[in-house]
């Protein structure tokens, strides 16, 4: 797929590029905060920033439906439940990291991550990506919905079972050991 625009729209294309860079910066800065913050709640907020940036990138990829779902599910639901867990579990501040931990955990993790990143990044840059010649489906929301209930029916049902199991399982796990204060649990 090629992106090309009318030359009259040059200013808008440049502005769109600037906004695109802003979304990328949002994604990466949020991810860095999410990984590096000392306070856990700051990490959760960084994750929210990063996920919102990814939603913006989905808009640039031409799929507004997925962008809306990203904001609804991730920025809305998942991060809220994380905030609840942070409040309920009162995690310790990880500020008191021992120097030993720096040598035994952070350095190996950085080496492994950088190695993987360089290897895959080189492959991404050097490979010549070739688009499909014939486009069989445009990917509208209607087509996605029809596909979900015809071609991908089994996966759709499986994921609903997974979600149901997850809901029941999390209720059961979180209820256990709570004592009798909350009823007959």
């Amino acid at each position: 797929m090629e992106f090309s625009f009318n030359p009259d729209l040059k200013l808008y294309v440049i502005l769109a590029d600037v906004a695109f860079v802003a979304f990328i910066a949002m994604t990466l800065l949020g991810a860095i905060v999410a990984v590096g913050a000392r306070q856990l709640i700051h990490a959760v907020l960084g994750l929210v920033l990063s996920l919102a940036g990814v939603a913006g990138l989905y808009v640039y990829l031409g799929n507004h439906f997925i962008a809306a779902m990203q904001i609804l599910i991730y920025v809305g639901a998942v991060s809220i439940s994380m905030v609840f867990a942070v409040m309920l579990a009162r995690p310790p501040q990880e500020a008191s990291m021992k120097p030993l931990m720096m040598a035994t955990k952070v350095a190996p993790a950085a080496i492994v991550a950088l190695f993987g990143g360089f290897t895959v990044g080189r492959a991404v840059i050097t490979h010549h990506w070739e688009a499909a010649k014939v486009i069989t489906a445009e990917g509208t929301v209607t087509q996605i919905g029809v596909n979900l209930l015809t071609k991908n029916m089994l996966v759709f049902e499986l994921i609903s079972v997974v979600l149901l199991t997850a809901i029941m399982g999390s209720v059961v796990i979180a209820k256990r050991g709570r004592g009798t204060a909350g009823g007959n649990g």
Binding site: M1, L40, L57, M69, E94, A137, G139, S170, G177
Partner: protein, 108 residues
């Protein structure tokens, strides 16, 4: 016809997704807490979803498949987050900490 400088190239999206994956991998291995590890896993899953959408938009012949898969990834991530967070709450009640290195049921 003019071409956009950045957002018309698949490599940009793939490299951003790669950065998300690398940061998530680093966080997963270096952070000690349960919730921090879960945050890193969410970053990795988002990198995967972004990859799926990039390939879908630029390369795939059937453009419904990538969107469907991204939706499935989101559903799985939501289920996984719910389970992990309830486990974190349960572990905190039992051990009074959610630092993964300090939790051990056999030492004492």
């Amino acid at each position: 016809m003019i071409q956009p400088l950045l957002f018309g190239h698949i490599e940009v999206y793939l490299l951003v997704a790669l950065c998300l994956f690398v940061l998530g991998l680093f966080g997963l291995m270096s952070r000690p807490g349960f919730v921090s590890m879960l945050i890193s896993i969410e970053l990795i899953l988002n990198g995967a979803g972004l990859n799926f959408m990039a390939f879908n938009t630029f390369l795939a012949p059937d453009k419904t498949l990538g969107a469907t898969f991204t939706l499935f990834i989101m559903g799985l991530a939501a289920a996984e987050a719910a389970i992990c967070l309830s486990i974190a709450v349960a572990v905190y009640r039992r051990f009074r900490t959610i630092v993964a290195d300090e939790i051990s049921g056999m030492k004492d």
